[in-house]
């Protein structure tokens, strides 16, 4: 947000100026314009988390690319493991004024597992990917767990995780399957309200292992409270920590959580193209990149078409692990 815009906003605040005109984006003469428009981005979680952070950081830069005096309103709609927010976006009018940020692959899972959901992610109008956070396997620094072999040999494994329907839990279940743990029946301690709570639980000793997005985990590793055992992705960005691939588990390379923007199904091709182009301009804006670095976002921009393809890819990938991904605590 420029100083000029900021000043204008302040004026509106203090002086009770004219009301905003609330009409759909004008398309009368064939050109698309979001000038003076309000665009809502639905966030499926409470304020303060990684998804919330990504949207709030990105919003002003995206607004600038969409038109003059565009107001992007982040709306937190937590609940039902993200399904409420996803349903809201899916059912919204496809005029570009309602978008959502999606947790991938987490939101793909209920559909794959045959649970009743009111949306199909493959039908959404994908605008682009902002972030991709790789997962890192963690243990408490005070524990004896140092290598992946230690993990496999553990007689009793207790994984800490947020609730059912999160990408984190799915990643853990897939990892347990791929590694072939000595413990035939690991405990999944699910239901922590957020990733930070999981990490503190691990420091406290509620359980012995967890997987979390790397940016949140990093500071606990740096402070010496937690130990990173292995990391997903092609090459390690934590010194001395090997990747799963280097340790002989290439199947775990792909474990990540992605944060992508999408609008309702069946958006006008022209409108979608406009929003995708604006997205790519905003996400590669050096000013935004500087902001993202400060906010520890792991930018991994991907254009709309590629994002849509990635979503389909998730369906194929997780379909293969279908039998391992049921709710471990619902039996």
């Amino acid at each position: 947000m420029t100083w000029r815009q900021q000043g204008r906003r302040l004026c509106r605040w203090l002086l009770l100026l004219l009301p905003l005109a609330g009409c759909a984006p004008g398309e009368d003469d064939g050109t698309i314009s979001f000038d003076n428009e309000t665009v809502t981005i639905v966030i499926p979680y409470r304020p303060g988390g990684g998804f919330d952070r990504a949207v709030r950081a990105f919003a002003p830069y995206y607004a600038r690319e969409l038109g003059t005096d565009v107001n992007i309103l982040p709306e937190n709609l937590p609940g039902a493991g993200g399904r409420r927010a996803a349903t809201k976006v899916y059912r919204a009018r496809p005029d570009g004024t309602t978008l959502g940020i999606f947790n991938l692959p987490g939101f793909v899972l209920p559909e794959i597992l045959g649970e009743p959901v009111d949306y199909d992610l493959r039908e959404l109008s994908w605008i682009g990917r902002i972030e991709s956070q790789r997962y890192v396997l963690l243990a408490a620094a005070t524990s004896d767990i140092r290598t992946l072999d230690d993990v496999r040999a553990l007689p009793e494994v207790t994984f800490l995780s947020t609730g059912y329907g999160s990408s984190v839990l799915a990643a853990m279940q897939i990892m347990a399957e791929e590694l072939g743990l000595a413990d035939p029946d690991p405990i999944y301690l699910t239901g922590y309200p957020g990733t930070a709570d999981v990490l503190v639980g691990l420091v406290r000793g509620d359980g012995n292992l967890s997987i979390t997005p790397v940016s949140t985990a990093l500071k606990y590793v740096e402070s010496g409270d937690l130990r990173a055992i292995a990391i997903a992705g092609g090459d390690s960005n934590i010194e001395g920590v090997p990747t799963f691939a280097e340790l002989g588990y290439p199947g775990l390379m792909a474990l990540d959580v992605q944060r992508s923007l999408a609008g309702p199904p069946a958006m006008e091709p022209g409108l979608l193209e406009f929003m995708r182009a604006a997205f790519m301009r905003a996400v590669t804006d050096p000013e935004f990149e500087a902001m993202a670095a400060r906010a520890r976002l792991e930018l991994a921009p991907l254009d709309g078409a590629a994002t849509a393809a990635a979503v389909s890819g998730h369906y194929t990938f997780y379909e293969a692990f279908k039998t391992n991904l049921t709710n471990p605590n619902a039996r």
Partner: protein
């Protein structure tokens, strides 16, 4: 000031209603899977036991007070309570149909005129003033999209 009207029936009736709610809670809880049902079942039993205890206590008290006469003015008091709830429900209905910016002046005006006994001019002035404040604070200053009502919004 503290004119608390309670019929001798209000205690037993509310206790019985709560017992029913508790039983319903418990019955529903048994339909959930293991983890979802664990805590509701536990609380459901505690709720049912406590509500039953309250019901027994109230029914005993009722049996003991059989000879007490009717409370003076009870009927008028009940009528006034019902009117209050009716005003509130009417406002909700108006909001649902016409949205905040239509329901607010209508409700304010009607209430001030018919419940408050103000003159038409005074009631209208306050109603319009209140609507202006709601609009100014919520729609302009805070940029909320106020609900526009079933009739005009959809």
């Amino acid at each position: 000031m503290n004119r608390r009207w309670t019929s001798r029936w209000s205690g037993p009736v509310s206790a019985l209603v709560l017992t029913f709610v508790a039983a319903l809670t418990l019955w529903t809880a048994y339909g959930y899977n293991r983890l979802s049902g664990l805590f509701p079942v536990f609380i459901g039993w505690v709720f049912l036991a406590l509500a039953l205890a309250e019901a027994v206590r109230e029914l005993r008290r009722l049996a003991g007070s059989e000879r007490a006469g009717p409370v003076d003015g009870a009927k008028a008091a009940v009528l006034r309570e019902v009117t209050g709830v009716a005003w509130l429900s009417g406002f909700l209905l108006l909001i649902w149909l016409g949205g905040f910016l239509l329901a607010t002046p209508l409700f304010m005006f009607a209430f001030l005129r018919f419940a408050g006994g103000r003159s038409i001019a005074a009631a209208a002035a306050v109603a319009l003033g209140a609507t202006a404040i709601v609009y100014g604070v919520f729609a302009v200053l805070l940029e909320y999209r106020l609900y526009a009502g079933l009739v005009f919004g959809a």
